[in-house]
Symmetry: C2
Amino acid sequence: MNDRPKIKDIAVRLGVSAATVSRALSDSGLVAEPTLSRIRDLAREMNYRPNVSARNLRTKKAMAVLMVVRDVGNPFYLEILKGVEATARAAGYSVLMGNTENDSDREVEYFDMLRDGHADGMILMTGKLPEREGFLASVADAPIVVALEAIENAGFPHVLIDNQGAAQNAVEHLIGLGHKRIAHVSGPVPEIMSIHRRDGYRKAMAAAGLPIPDGYEPVGDYLLHTGQRLCHALFELPQPPTAIFVANDEMAFGVIHELRKLGLDVPADVSVVGFDDLFLSEAFYPPLTTVSQPRTEIGRTAMTMLLDILSGGLAARQPATMPTTLKIRGTTAPAPK
Amino acid sequence: MNDRPKIKDIAVRLGVSAATVSRALSDSGLVAEPTLSRIRDLAREMNYRPNVSARNLRTKKAMAVLMVVRDVGNPFYLEILKGVEATARAAGYSVLMGNTENDSDREVEYFDMLRDGHADGMILMTGKLPEREGFLASVADAPIVVALEAIENAGFPHVLIDNQGAAQNAVEHLIGLGHKRIAHVSGPVPEIMSIHRRDGYRKAMAAAGLPIPDGYEPVGDYLLHTGQRLCHALFELPQPPTAIFVANDEMAFGVIHELRKLGLDVPADVSVVGFDDLFLSEAFYPPLTTVSQPRTEIGRTAMTMLLDILSGGLAARQPATMPTTLKIRGTTAPAPK
DNA sequence: ATGAAAGCGCTAACAT
DNA sequence: ATGTTAGCGCTTTCAT
């Protein structure tokens, strides 16, 4: 296992030069037929694999891209990864996963991996840049595509969904069902994605002339147990809601779980809408009404953009916006009397 | 971004040799104090990062390990990844994710990544080796740790759970509740993990003197919709079960979803036990009774073993067996009259 | 304690 | 169409 053959071994055994072997193995079309086959055959026979470090050093490419997310633990990212991976593989790139856990140091680390040649480009899905002065300037011309989240004023190409529109649409569905007291469990709010979804909620409420009472917009963090906690708080208000629009499915599961503990029926007493459409959302009970995003497609698009940049193309300056659909399932029903 | 400083840049600016810079930056303890600090300061100031390809080429190490799973789409692996990653990072290694989707070609590809220097070692979680003659021999002495699944006759160190014992325990719980007609939705059955879980089921049934009627052991593949399909088939049998032990949570969700469609109540009409304890299993309705595995711990242990091998240590020859616990929640109840 | 020089395995000019 | 040569950026003998 450890005595890996190198190009020179093949060259010596065949009485040709290392360069010829290299050329033959890289489909350069510069090696003539008797030699070509002999080299390829022997390479296969010897189970030859080019040493990536040597090649990368020479070509200054890693043929790898970095996909950085804020939490690998969130299955939501997995399908995006699949889209990214499929597209990357087809182009001969491999994909490295980066996990920041919202830690600024780790964010920096992944940017460093770009600089030290670990990867050639990056798909960033953590709505922020490391908090260091001058950081933005130092990476402004790096091959980076931002997906799902937005990084403003950086000039990076983006792949987005219309969070505000989708949220508004979801809340309108609730309003159409006759709900008046609709609360919103939001994401971490300084972040753009959370703000957009909340804006959509507010816009729908305003358009319908519905008030947003104090305490109707608790701020969450996309985690299951936070959904539980915030739901509990909501029902200690003097006027609890009859419907809740939750910023993601994971928290929505927590909300529904807590509702059940409180003895409330979903959707008879309280309607719930989520956002993401996780693979379990339909099998959940009741099947979750939620906003579905084309995740694989998002991954594919982001990677395609990145490949474009990597091959010298100029990336689109306006973001690609992917369509969402509201999946109306079992957690929403007409408002109780 | 593209004009990355190299060791020589630092050396020139400081009037020292490249070798000294390299030594200073690698904590070799061979550089004296006035120089040492000057080098380190300048390196930081210039934001220097050693080029990994050059370093790896020279040292013949990648400082990376490969974690290969059969389906990145399964959230089950994410927590294991977290354990692996934490341990790896602490030792200065990064972790690459490999996804085989049960495709033999892709399996080979990841083994190749070991040979071409992409990674130094591998944590394998796909209960099988690529089907090529002589393959086992060709990788027998590679730094590989097998986790969750077993690869027999290969001499690789393993991190396992007692699948059979845990399964048996789960079924005994059902039996203790008075169930007689207990079915088992298994995993893909030529594979050892699936077989062990099924053996546990059979053992418990045999010990209680309970028969396993025809059709009571449908073979699945760990996927949600397969759980649905197999559950449906189970209830077309002349004597349907009153309890089902399902080989993983994902299929268990499908089973429960289907049960509901069939108008059957869980757990009043049918009890269900899963295996895995996914992060959503408790928030599911009813909260899923299931076998919980120490996932993070499994990842940590596997990576620790791999580090040990990588640093020249001899790996334990007998597998590390991690404890499981049966979480009794809301999907199991006494057998209906 | 530091420098000089060699070389990891590969690819890409530049010859021929 | 193939060989020769140089060098990617780093670490590591071997000198001094």
